[in-house]
Amino acid sequence: MKRRDFFKTAALTAGAAALGTSDLSAGETKQPIDNRKISDVAFPEKRPLITYSDRPPLLETPREVFTSALTPNDQFFVRWHMPDIPQYIDEKSFTINVNGMVKNVLKITLDQLKNDYEQVEVTAVLQCGGNSRSAFNPTAGGIQWGNGAMGCAHWKGVRLRDILDRAGLKKGAEWLAVSGSEKAAYYETPNFVRELHLDELDDHVIIAYQMNGEDLPYLNGFPVRLVIPGVYSDSWIKMLSNITVTDKYKHLFFMDHAYRVPDNDCECETPEKPFPKTKPIYRMNVKSLIGYPVNGGKLTHKSHTVVRGVAWDGGAGIREVQISLDGGKTWDKAELDDGSQGRYAYRTFRYSFKPMKLGKMSIMAKAINKLGEEQPFAKDVKWNHGGYKFNGIDEVKVEVV
């Protein structure tokens, strides 16, 4: 049997399918879909994950991984935009090109990146703006992600600022157009280019070559990717190969049309009445996820149970996580880790209790950040056409036996 045939057979039922929509009344946001099967097929350097597409690869991390502060590289989610990803990167010849309005055009090799610049590290959450999109009703446009289009890693690399300083910005420089090595099937298709305003860059923005102490996995952007702590992952360019400095914002498809929400206070609209003005999704809102127990899990009656999970936001930092065991009527504080991973990282939480009543029960988690912003109930999250930025209070339903 040829390998391709094998995959065909093996994978026939492996693909996630989002069909079978809710019976809830129209317009009410619900919990994201959480019962997708893990694929039988593993992608390179990955364990089998929830698989939405092979071309481009779209892989989701299952809920139970989110009990720990760092997400293992082989379980870290994957999202590409273009079908053709280089299958091989030569570490000796690969360069990051810095050009445009700079005094010195740079072609930085990996060796230079690792030796000629100050090496810095940051722990940061990488979350797709469309994470949890399947919560929206009616169904929003885009891949119907569950909760696992995210992860948190310890990144090592070089400050983008330091590289730009070495290149020397010319007067009037204002924007960076950043792109990687992925390619479309058609020559005419616009490349996946993201534009960053220089004001958006702080010292935490790095070009990373290491993730949790290892080389970046190929599908997470080997050999280098951009890391923009606190900000949704649409501009965390993978296989970063080009930075062009410009004075003007170029109206590119992936900037003007993708990853945008209504530019109003609630960032909301209705399918019938789309809001005309939009803005980038940008900074992450406050959110949490329960990693244990998972939906459909069984707890033993009167046993010592520890609910575990992670909470994060756009960099203000998590102040508190609260747990409700009565459907959100009353809340009790969870214990948080010491926060030593920094304000851009997952803050892990734990909550001990003994389930005293047999039968079905609900466990909810709500995070509050240091600005006092807290997660709304899932049903109160307002709709937007792209299904971005869902941050409803998480809920798992378990059975006490």
Binding site: R4, F7, K8, A11, L12, T13, A14, G15, A16, A17, A18, L19, T21, S39, V41, A42, F43, P44, E45, T51, Y52, S53, D54, R55, P56, P57, L58, D74, P83, I85, Q87, Y88, I89, E91, S134, P138, T139, G141, G142, I143, Q144, A184, A185, Y186, E188, T189, P190, E214, D215, Y218, L219, F222, F253, H257
Partner: protein, 100 residues
Amino acid sequence: MKKLFIIALIALTPLMAQVKGKIEVPYIAFPIKMGKGFDAVQANCLMCHSFGYIINQGRQSRKFWRGKIEKMIVHFKAPISDKDAKIIEDYLTEHYGNGK
């Protein structure tokens, strides 16, 4: 026998974790529905993305699917003929529609 062993090793290399040789992304056969117009879907859509990309959008309206096809033509420059565009729209609405 030795030769065979070496060949087997080479064949496995791309699948081994942390090896920076050539990688190969596996092919997944997503369970797309067969029906009228499927040939046009296969001929036009598969150039750029898997069937998974279609079925994992969830059930959507005719307007949504028409919009997606237009996006592929206008923004992503997919060379889809007007005739095929209509066939694909009908197929998607029938098999992945939400009744609207």
